[in-house]
């Protein structure tokens, strides 16, 4: 058993932490989050330059090839800065799918473009009534001529409006909840009959609603084997959850630090708030939640490379547990800040919002508790 970071991981951590610290102060973050695109081309370019966009991939694409721990490290640093760059959508989800399923040509052209920061991807997977069920796909793919025609709606797609290419999941066969029968297709942002409607997210990220009203794509747009893509979808979601777990930990760290600092500074009734035992203990509750969240993030990160049964139990444990702990930390951070924590102008409010909203991505606490119980039964 070994909890230490490798030399490469320590370097990665230093690099990304420095980048966030130096280029992503709160004011800038707010501007970026409020921008039309919802991220910064400039920061994205720096991430590319520093080799950050290839981290999860094989060495030939600039990656470290070491998996979950790297993602956790990246997530934690980005969580500390509330970074809204499209890393999850472009690199982890989009890049991850190409990495797992892409042909040599697709990897060559697309992965390199992703790693170089030239191409943005988004994974158009969720649908209006799929809630958190990853196998729920109603969007249809019909074979037409040499290609495919896609029809359906996609919902709450991370960075969907900024993407150059969408990876759209669509049903080839089977019932709308079946794991079998799902295909993945590359769709360029300018495709005919494609409508992408972007909105900001309540936490400063950006999402999109997407309508595919008979979008035609060629045979070269197919990713992997149509109908047999679910395992890859599950795997990139696992990766995304590891990164998100890291992000939650990073954001929780800042929320705890900021709150502790505030308690020491702010006075009421002639005493610093930190003198009130009840407030002390609440800060401790936040700190305890942070510690548990860290443990779960480490667990999920370290288990990402294990066989599915082991991996997914850790993934669901982490997502369910962190959902609860992040909410505790987010809500207490606001409460302990009092009125000031309710305002747009203070960073901690935005940390709290992100912490709560992380539970709405890739399955909430209830979803993963239920899933964990099923996986745990199967493992027993």
């Amino acid at each position: 058993m070994d909890f230490s970071l490798s030399e490469e991981q320590r370097m990665l951590k230093d690099t990304v932490e420095r980048l966030v610290r130096e280029t992503y102060d709160f004011e800038k973050r707010q501007k970026i989050a409020a921008s039309e695109e919802g991220f910064s081309r400039d920061v994205w370019g720096q991430l590319a330059e520093l080799g950050m966009l290839g981290v999860p991939f094989a060495e030939e694409f600039g990656g470290l090839g070491s998996g979950g721990v790297d993602l956790m490290i990246l997530g934690e640093a980005m969580g500390r800065g509330l970074v809204v760059e499209p890393y999850l959508s472009t690199v982890v989800l989009g890049g991850g799918l190409i990495d797992l399923l892409g042909s040599a040509e697709q990897k060559e052209s697309l992965l390199n473009a992703v790693v170089g920061g030239e191409t943005l991807l988004a994974f158009a997977h969720g649908e209006p009534d799929s809630r958190y069920e990853p196998a729920h796909v109603r969007c249809k793919a019909e074979k037409t001529g040499g290609g495919w025609t896609l029809t359906g709606r996609k919902s709450v797609v991370l960075n969907g409006a900024a993407a150059d290419q969408l990876i759209v999941s669509a049903r080839i066969s089977g019932g709308h909840d079946d794991e079998d029968g799902i295909g993945l297709f590359l769709v360029g942002k300018d495709a005919a009959n494609l409508k992408v409607h972007g909105t900001p997210g309540i936490d400063g990220t950006h999402v999109a609603e997407i309508a595919l009203d008979g979008v035609e794509v060629g045979a070269d747009a197919v990713l992997g084997t149509p109908g047999a893509c679910f395992a890859a979808i599950e795997e990139v979601m696992a990766r995304a959850i590891v990164m998100l777990a890291g992000e939650a930990v990073g954001a929780m760290e800042v929320a705890v630090e900021t709150t502790v600092e505030y308690l020491k500074t702010r006075k009421q009734f002639g005493k610093a708030l930190s003198q009130f035992q009840v407030l002390q203990h609440r800060a401790v509750d936040m700190r305890i939640s942070l510690e548990q969240a860290k443990s779960l993030a480490v667990l999920a990160a370290a288990r990402l490379g294990e066989p599915r049964a082991v991996r997914e139990m850790a993934i669901s444990a982490a997502k369910a547990g962190i959902g609860q702990h992040a909410r505790i930390v987010g809500e207490l951070a606001i409460q302990l800040h009092g009125g000031i924590g309710m305002t747009w102008e203070v960073p901690v409010a935005h940390y709290a919002k992100r912490l709560v909203m992380i539970d709405h991505l890739f399955g909430d606490t209830d979803h993963h508790l239920e899933r964990f119980a099923a996986l745990s039964d199967a493992a027993a």
Partner: protein, 399 residues
């Protein structure tokens, strides 16, 4: 013991329902039901309807134009208003400054201000909190210095709800900076918002809405006749006001309406192929908060009955504040969870009347996450829930 309404109370409920159906404008009701943004005119029209019915001063004695309702009737009125989809009655004039003027104001003040509150000539806001004094209100620093027949006010108030719409503000100000205790040098004064030197600056809350404000006073000259009661006795009046504010604090009506809305959402949302409301876990959470709300409503009614028979609520009003806000927050939390991924999109413009852009997700989704974050304020304002527990510990349990 009988928890059923009397025939008279049932008749009164019908009267309220009839009034709501005929006098609450449909567009306002639709906004409330849809979680849309209200503009000043919406509040105005609703208050006007109440005013014309003689029901605006629902807590007022008949001598000042109130309807003279007992607590049970007030409870029925509140509950029916929320159930039907009426906006809340803004308390600043009718339920905050008015009781203070009635109790401590002079005859001229009563004659002048009270009718203007009831007929909506004056729209009031509150000047209590300051940046440095939240829960510890008595540490306030806004100063009022007597110069001839005026006071000169300097300082800053904050968290002034809907101050952007107000004509008048009632303020706690420090008139004696040298008093032995911080509570002792405070006065209660009424200020016209149009006086030179008064500046209102918006505070945007974390969810993005402009609901509260900072109000700055820069050498604001206020006639001495605007002082309520005696100079330096304002703390007494402030505490009296806070007791009055507390009466509506149980949030029963609004929580009941929110619970119904939550159930409607849970019936529409689908999880594992079935309505979310049939999901055992979610169903259990709804049942739990529904029972909590039943218990809380009973507590509220027991306190009201106690008040009606001449008792004064003690630690109970703090319990009502705590439980009322916890339950209200729990309901918004469940609503947020209920809508799943659709909690994320932040369509601020969709909350405006006449929005005809492309809706994202089901029509009830847009305001839900905002409401959840906005409702975090409940456990902070009006004396934070921690402060309420201090009060119960000290005054209620003698700890």
């Amino acid at each position: 013991m009988d928890l059923n309404f009397t025939p008279e109370e049932l008749a009164f409920r019908e009267e309220v329902r009839t009034f709501l159906k005929s006098k609450l404008p449909d567009d306002i009701r639709a906004k409330i039901k849809g979680g849309k943004r209200l503009v000043k005119d919406d509040y105005f029209r609703w208050h006007k309807a109440l005013s014309e019915q003689g029901w605006l001063g629902s807590n007022w004695p008949t001598e000042y134009g109130g309807p003279g309702w007992d607590p049970v009737r007030k409870h029925i009125f509140e509950e029916e208003c929320y159930a039907y989809g009426a906006p809340r009655i803004l308390p600043f004039g009718v339920n905050m400054v008015a009781p203070v003027i009635m109790k401590f104001g002079n005859q001229a003040q009563k004659d002048y201000y009270l009718p203007r509150i009831l007929d909506l000539t004056d729209w009031w806001c509150q000047g209590y909190s300051e940046p440095g004094s939240g829960s510890d209100l008595a540490s306030l620093r806004t100063s009022a210095v007597r110069e001839g027949d005026h006071y000169i006010i300097n300082g800053q108030k904050t968290w002034t709800t809907l101050g952007q719409h107000a004509d008048m503000i009632f303020c706690l100000v420090r008139t004696n900076p040298d008093a032995a205790k911080p509570q002792e040098g405070i006065s209660f004064i009424l200020v016209d918002m149009n006086t030179p030197g008064v500046t209102v600056r918006p505070i945007i809350l974390l969810e993005g809405e402009h609901e509260v404000n900072e109000v700055w006073f820069d050498n604001v000259k206020v006639p001495a006749e605007n002082l309520v009661g005696e100079e330096n006795k304002g703390w007494t009046y402030a505490k009296y006001l806070l007791t009055h504010e507390r009466t509506g604090i149980a949030n029963v009506g609004s929580s009941k309406a929110a619970l119904l809305h939550l159930k409607a959402i849970a019936r529409d949302q689908v999880k594992n192929g079935r309505p979310l409301i049939e999901d055992p876990l979610f169903r259990n959470r709804i049942a739990k908060v529904e029972i909590d709300l039943m218990a809380h409503e009973m507590t509220n009614l027991r306190v009201l009955a106690e008040v009606q028979s001449g008792g004064a609520p003690g630690l109970e009003s703090s319990i009502l504040k705590i439980r009322g806000t916890e339950i209200r927050q729990e309901i918004t939390d469940l609503a947020r969870r209920a809508i799943g991924p659709y909690a994320m999109p932040f369509q601020s413009e969709a909350l405006d009347e006449g929005f005809n852009g492309e809706p994202v997700g089901p029509d009830y989704a847009a305001p839900i996450a905002q409401q959840y974050f906005n409702m975090r304020k409940l456990s902070i304002y009006g004396g934070s829930n921690e402060i309420q527990k201090n009060i119960i510990a000290k005054a209620g349990l003698g700890l």
